[in-house]
């Protein structure tokens, strides 16, 4: 057998040390810095514009975490998948399913919430594991497999009940209402959990062998295999993590909204993917930081807040702004990868 790769060969670089400008453009942290800068700029702009309406209050900032904690958790899971070079479309459905599953077990079956939580997490993680297993063992595109997951979990939601189930359980309400005071403001349990998940994800990705394998597989799966890394197990693990995070996000969403609804979180996979991409993670895998995902979520959250403060702007501007940001960041990523190849 004989193959010829026909893509252009890079011209021989004249120097081994890249120039300053090239270093800056080639720096993997650049997209995260851009997003962080964007967040700051938007925040400052919000401050100057809505100062008199209380935008400057610490609690407004805290609310970004409270209102978007579940999204952050889901996006962290998606970050793992995208870093490994895959994609997970089932996120929104798993979240929706978890809200229904939890509400149904708590309200209709009368199980205590502390029993339901591990069950819900296990179901989400197992769903993710199954998808990862099929993706790896049968070499089917992640897009299609997780699409089936999207259908399956949304369908299971509807199988549980077509109607919304509101949760009146007192322990759930007290959990939902619990506040952690930080002096200037407070955070909900959901926000705290989200920040803990973020910290754990950061540690795993940067300080464990597994985390580095995720990057290696996303950078070049073939190489990872030839270097003797268990790329199959890594791939299955990231989908399991994503399933687990989605289920956890679903629990947080249940707390946040105190009901289960078969249509909850429809399309949230798009928000999660958008947050990851805006956070500077390459959709082709192998490059990005989970901290970027935090800023991606915060930017999306801030857009929502600003639109609320603006009053005259309608909610659909969120989608348009998200799309425009997504487009901008995809083009930036494209420019960066194109630079590296030449």
């Amino acid at each position: 057998m004989s193959t010829t790769t026909t893509t252009k060969r890079p011209p021989a670089p004249d120097s081994r040390t890249p120039s300053k400008a090239a270093q800056l453009l080639g720096d993997r942290r650049l997209p995260v810095l851009v997003t962080a800068g964007l967040f700051l700029a938007m925040y400052v702009a919000g401050l100057s514009r809505y100062q008199n309406y209380g935008f400057g209050e610490a609690q407004v900032f805290m609310n970004l975490f409270i209102d978007n904690g579940y999204l952050l958790v889901a996006a962290v899971g998606v970050t793992f998948v995208i870093l490994s070079g895959g994609i997970d479309l089932s996120v929104g459905s798993v979240i929706g399913f978890t809200t229904m599953f939890t509400a149904w077990l708590v309200e209709r079956q009368g199980l205590p919430i502390l029993v339901v939580i591990p069950m819900a997490l296990a179901v989400g993680a197992f769903g993710g594991f199954l998808m990862g297993y099929v993706i790896h063992n049968f070499e089917i595109q992640p897009f299609i497999v997780t699409l089936a997951g999207l259908f399956l979990f949304r369908g299971l939601c509807l199988v549980i009940s077509k109607e919304s189930i509101s949760i009146g359980d007192s322990s759930v309400s007290s959990m939902a209402g619990a506040q952690v005071n930080l002096g200037a403001g407070f955070l909900s349990i959901g926000a705290i959990v989200a920040l803990v998940v973020l910290a754990v994800a950061f540690y795993v990705l940067h300080y464990t062998r597994f985390g580095r394998r995720v990057y290696a597989v996303g950078g070049n799966e073939q190489s990872a295999m030839l270097m003797g890394l268990p790329q199959g197990g890594t791939k299955i693990a990231v989908y399991t993590i994503s399933g687990f995070c989605s289920a956890l996000a679903g629990l947080l969403f249940t707390l946040y909204i105190q009901s289960g609804d078969p249509l909850h979180a429809t399309g949230m996979e798009l928000d999660a993917i958008a947050a990851v991409v805006i956070g500077g993670t390459l959709l082709t895998g192998g490059s990005g930081y989970v901290i970027g995902t935090l800023f991606g979520v915060l930017v999306l959250g801030l857009i929502k807040s600003i639109i609320q403060f603006e009053g005259t702007l309608s909610s659909w501007w969120t989608k348009i702004a998200t799309g425009v940001l997504l487009c901008a960041f995809i083009l930036i990523q494209r420019a960066m990868t194109a630079r590296k190849k030449t």
């Binding site: 010829t4 893509t7 089917i140 299609i144 070049n220 995809i330």
Partner: protein, 370 residues
């Protein structure tokens, strides 16, 4: 053996399995609805389950036909649902602004605006994929996210209802005793078949999707081809958008065409077109779309709660994909159906070397393996 050559030719036809699935699904209905296949004439209109399957399946068929060409080039278009919403929103909002909503000139102009917007979306997708070299799934994600926002912007977040007889015809009217939308679908399918099979477009599309490098070396201008298929796909989605909004006489920026991209991809896959690109079958896609619509109808008629629809769909996706996966076939059926490496080699050497798929080969020059 008892299999005659004719029977074997039949079972090997690429439409055989999709048609079998469709027929089986249709037959499943008979015990539950004995008059399932009967078609009645009421008020000069034909009615019956078969007619409604085609009628309700029309938008999906349209979108799936466009999607087929995109997938054949090795791409994918996630933005069709958003394009459906945008087209419906623009057209309806223009009509609703007219003093005489039934004026033909206004309706035609509104349709023109809607379809123009669809074409612009297609051009944008094509530009990102063919010119900027962005992966199709990523490039079309942009309009998938932003498009619904744009549609809601156009409708101001409301569901715009209109009252226009001529416009109602497209998706909800009757002509020659049949729903008019059947004629629209027939026309689009016919145009697509003519466009792809009577010109060289189909051949070039299959070539680009089947072997991109060979196509480059043979001189095919694959960028133009790709831009064309994305525009065509968006145009099909636009017509589907007209049909959906016409059927309900309303434009709903939020829900019109929701999930249709996923159903369309599913229809294409059931129809036998590989997601990797190459050979495509418009007929297969039409049958695939009908299978999906029949599944929905069947679930409804046999009394299973309609909400399980999605679970069945998930099962269908998985089964179809597993059957298409060479690895699964090798594991499940032994070597008979699997593409063993080396089994198809003319030179008898393994068809795939590990290094071949490595991303870094992009940076490496010629590699010869002896």
């Amino acid at each position: 053996m008892t299999t005659t050559p004719r029977w074997r030719a039949l079972t090997h036809h690429n439409l055989f399995w999709p048609v079998v699935v469709l027929v089986v699904l249709l037959l499943v209905n008979v015990p539950f609805t004995p008059d399932f296949f009967s078609i009645r004439m009421t008020n000069g209109h034909l009615h019956g389950s078969l007619v409604s399957i085609v009628l309700f399946g029309s938008p999906l068929i349209l979108v799936a036909v466009g999607m087929t060409l995109v997938i054949a080039t090795g791409g994918i278009d996630l933005s069709v649902g958003a394009v459906v919403a945008i087209t419906g929103a623009l057209t309806c909002s223009y009509i609703s602004d007219q003093s005489d909503q039934s004026a033909l000139s206004g309706v035609f102009f509104a349709i023109g605006i809607g379809l123009l917007a669809a074409v612009v979306c297609g051009l944008w997708n094509g530009f990102l994929v063919a010119r900027m070299g962005i992966q199709p799934i990523i490039a079309t994600l942009i309009i998938m996210v932003a498009g619904r926002g744009v549609a809601q912007l156009v409708t101001d977040g409301q569901i715009i209802t209109i009252n226009s007889e001529p416009y109602k015809l497209i998706g909800g009217g009757y002509w020659l005793t049949l729903p008019f939308s059947i004629f629209v679908v027939a026309a689009v399918v016919a145009v697509t078949v003519v466009l792809t099979r009577k010109t060289a477009l189909g051949l070039l599309v299959e070539s680009v999707g089947g072997n991109a490098e060979a196509s480059r070396l043979v001189g095919i201008r694959s960028r133009r081809i790709k831009i064309m298929v994305y525009v065509f796909c968006a145009l099909c989605a636009g017509i589907a958008g007209l049909m959906i909004s016409s059927n309900t006489s309303a434009a709903d920026g939020n829900n019109a065409g929701l999930w249709i991209e996923l159903d369309a991809i599913l229809a294409v896959v059931i129809g036998g077109t590989s997601l990797l690109g190459g050979r495509f079958s418009i007929g297969g896609t039409v049958i695939g779309a009908l299978v999906i619509q029949t599944l929905t109808t069947t679930i409804y008629t046999i009394g299973v709660p309609t909400q399980t629809n999605l679970v069945f769909k998930a099962a269908v996706v998985i089964v179809v994909c597993l059957l298409q996966s060479p690895k699964f076939r090798a594991k499940a059926f032994g070597g008979r159906f699997g593409n063993k490496p080396g089994a198809k080699g003319g030179t008898g050497q393994p068809a795939v070397a590990p290094a071949q798929t490595a991303k870094t080969t992009e940076a490496a020059p010629k590699m010869e393996v002896s």
